[in-house]
């Protein structure tokens, strides 16, 4: 067990591309840290550098206080779980799990004991004499985990370990991974592109984009207080709504009506080079059917009318999609997020607004509905830099804050 420190770690490939630029990260002993981001953001490269499978171009990597830049993977005492599981096809489950111990030249007795122990934890005991080819995906995944835990390494590195499982099993294995990590208390770095995994698993989440860290923090903090447009759009499902907002004498003109702004935001907009156009971001759960709220709540927000496009009833609540007119919010980050979601070439007319309303709302498709939204929960972003203007000392404070 050990802490891992990345000190301005960068990776440049011989062809000139920079996969990871200046990543600073301190992972505490026993911490579960998730690296998340769209494909090509450098998260796997970062993990491979920690493992020693990729050279570090510049910067320093320390494990347990020791500089390990030039150490081979085998001298770093880390265990890695791969998306493909990377089980040795010629060995049985038992031999697979014993492999790192055999290489470490442990005696037969303790190898046997440790393998049995790990197999028991992961419920692999009846499968010990099978070959990987005769296991299901979930079983292979557990063997891969078993091979990692069996030798009690300083840290676990996991590279999208659940991505090859089907949806149901993935949810189940998520809890297994989580429980295992808490039981063992081993420092873990976990790479995923799935924001749900990132939100549910980690103590802290590192969001990466284009090789650079965007924000580091506990999942809830990233969700509530995104530092920029990219983080806001990446975390959350369904994702945050983004609307174009024009700054006009103390108000923001948006498709949802004129939004008043408080002193704090106004001060930021007073400067000569301040943006005249913003992007307003608001999460689906900060809308509500206007007929269902009391007066006091009503005062904290604004209401607007819009035609209902689609209603998805989830039982506990309803996802209601509205069509709103007006200019589309546009920024490089949003395009990238759309591309990652595979929706870059899929744009309807006008903007679609996703809201999460109470299940009691009698909303029906095709009609027009009056909807309320919470002004304290909206975020305002500068389209050119992506910066969250409503963030004050790390806290998002809505548009009205003084």
């Amino acid at each position: 067990m050990a802490d891992i420190v990345l000190d301005k770690v960068s990776k440049r490939f011989p062809d000139g591309t920079t996969a990871v630029r200046g990543v600073d990260l301190e992972i505490a002993d026993g911490e579960f840290v998730i690296l998340v981001g769209p494909s090509g953001c450098g998260k796997s490269t970062t993990l491979n550098m920690i493992a020693g499978l990729e050279d570090i171009s510049s910067g320093e990597l320390r494990i347990a206080g020791q500089r390990v830049n030039d150490k081979a993977p085998r001298d770093r005492d880390i265990a890695m779980v791969f998306q493909s599981y990377a089980l040795y096809p010629n060995m049985t489950v038992r031999e697979n799990m014993a492999f790192p111990l055999r290489l470490a030249k442990l005696d037969k007795e303790s190898i046997h004991q440790k393998v049995e122990e790990a197999a028991k934890v992961l419920e692999l005991t009846p499968l010990l004499d099978r070959k990987p080819a005769n296991l299901s995906g979930g079983q292979r995944q557990r063997v891969a985990m078993g091979r990692a835990i069996v030798r009690q390494p300083k840290a676990f590195l996991m590279d999208e370990p659940l991505s090859n499982l089907d949806a149901k099993l993935r949810v189940q294995m998520r809890t297994v991974v989580s429980r295992l990590q808490k039981q063992l208390g081993t420092t873990t770095v976990y790479v995923t592109h799935d924001q749900t995994e990132a939100m549910t698993l980690g103590d802290r989440v590192v969001i990466m984009r284009g090789g650079a860290v965007q924000q580091v923090g506990p999942p809830q903090e990233l969700y509530d207080h995104p530092r920029n447009l990219f983080v806001a759009g990446f975390i959350g499902s369904p994702s945050m709504n983004f609307l174009h907002a024009a700054v006009e004498d103390g108000h923001l003109r948006t498709a949802l009506g004129d939004v008043p702004i408080g002193d704090r935001v106004r001060r930021q907009l007073d400067g000569a080079d301040a943006p005249r156009e913003l992007i307003l971001g608001i999460r689906p759960e900060h809308f509500e059917d206007a007929a269902l709220i009391d007066d006091e709540t009503r005062r904290r927000g604004l209401e607007f009318d819009a035609p209902v496009d689609i209603v998805e009833s989830m039982g506990s609540d309803k996802y209601v999609y509205f069509t709103v007119e007006g200019e589309r919010a546009s920024a490089a980050e949003l395009e990238e997020l759309a591309a990652d979601a595979g929706a870059a070439d899929f744009t309807g007319t006008g903007s679609s607004l996703v809201t999460r309303l109470s299940a009691e709302s009698p909303v029906r498709e095709g009609e027009s509905r009056r909807v309320w939204f919470n002004l304290e929960k909206i975020h305002l972003f500068d389209p050119s830099t992506g910066r969250n203007l409503t963030l004050h000392e790390g806290r998002a404070s809505g548009a009205l804050a003084d």
Partner: protein, 333 residues
């Protein structure tokens, strides 16, 4: 049950599925799906199978015409006393030719020479070929040039290459002979054999490397990464991960090369013409058949070579579990 592909792969696999499914291992249903069960064939399946045969028929027919007929004809010839110098004495003599050949010391000398050349060249080629394959696989810069350069010997006509070796070892004019004080190595048995083997190895190592490189491409990169984080040194990664995963490809490469090497002819023909007891069985068969005009004895030798090659192939496929070319590689993925 690592590698189990055999020409009769489908049947074997079906058997295994049955035993394992009913055995102590609880069967994983998803993996069984798609394996052929031993149920009576449906009408559709039968029609499909018939179509399969029909589609194979033209190719099979050509094969019969160009290989089966000559093979059967030479078997027929081997059962006769048939010397073109004495055409009148042609008669059916059963297995007498086989007795003649198999009790003849020239045959066994040639057989020994052939076996020696086969074993030594294939072994050396495997080691060198593996090295070459690793280099070609790992090369990042100028990959195309490295591969092309490595394959040049294989691209040269064997006879042409053999002549260049012969001239190189010719005393007085050859550069290699001059290196050794103008000795004449092709006039002595041991050195002749060494030179023959050298020429063979030089010529076919690239082919071996090519086959092994295909096998190397089958080793997933993740597996090697996993082995490094598990604490394996480069050598351990090679022996404990790469080689086992490559085993099917290595066996196929060995099979191809062994069959090829056993029929060694061109190099011997050019380098020593079989002098100093350096004849291979192919040389001997050629001498009897074409130069001696003894069709009976020559055909007998040809049939014996054919049988030996068949036995080698059988041993590889059945005992070592080499995947026969064309069948799937046996590992269920």
């Amino acid at each position: 049950m690592s590698v189990n592909a055999t020409p009769a792969g489908a049947d074997v696999a079906a058997d295994e599925t049955a035993t394992r499914g009913g055995g102590r291992h609880a069967a994983v249903p998803t993996q069984r799906a798609g394996r052929r069960a031993r149920a009576p064939l449906s009408e559709n399946k039968r029609a499909e199978r018939r179509l399969g045969w029909l589609l194979c028929a033209p190719a099979a027919l050509v094969m019969v015409l160009v290989t089966a007929y000559p093979i059967l004809y030479s078997v027929w010839l081997s059962l006769q006393r048939f010397d073109l110098r004495f055409p009148d004495q042609r008669e059916f003599i059963g297995l007498e030719n086989y007795v003649t050949v198999l009790t003849n010391q020239f045959w066994w000398t040639a057989f020994g020479v052939t076996a020696l050349i086969t074993v030594v060249t294939v072994a050396v080629e495997l080691v060198l070929g593996m090295g070459l394959a690793l280099i070609m696989h790992r090369t990042l810069v100028g990959r195309g040039i490295v591969r092309t350069a490595a394959l040049i010997p294989y691209g040269i006509v064997t006879v042409v290459a053999a002549f260049s070796w012969r001239y190189a070892w010719t005393p007085g004019t050859g550069y290699l002979a001059n290196l050794f004080d103008g000795s004449a190595p092709l006039t002595e048995r041991a050195s002749s054999l060494a030179i023959i083997m050298l020429a063979e190895i030089w010529k076919t190592t690239p082919f071996m490397a090519l086959l092994l490189m295909a096998g190397l491409a089958l080793v997933p990169e993740d597996l090697l990464k996993a082995a490094s984080t598990d604490g394996a040194t480069a050598w351990q990664r090679f022996t404990k991960v790469m080689l086992p995963v490559m085993k099917p490809a290595i066996l196929v490469a060995l099979l191809f090369r062994t069959l090829d090497a056993f029929r060694v002819f061109d190099n011997i023909f050019v380098l020593t013409a079989g002098g100093n007891e350096t004849s291979s069985v192919s040389m001997l068969a050629y001498n009897n058949l074409i130069r001696g005009l003894n069709l009976g004895i020559g055909s007998t030798m040809s049939v014996l070579i054919f049988l030996t090659v068949a036995i080698i192939a059988f041993v590889f496929v059945k005992l070592f579990g080499t995947a026969a070319p064309g069948s799937d590689d046996g590992e269920r993925r």
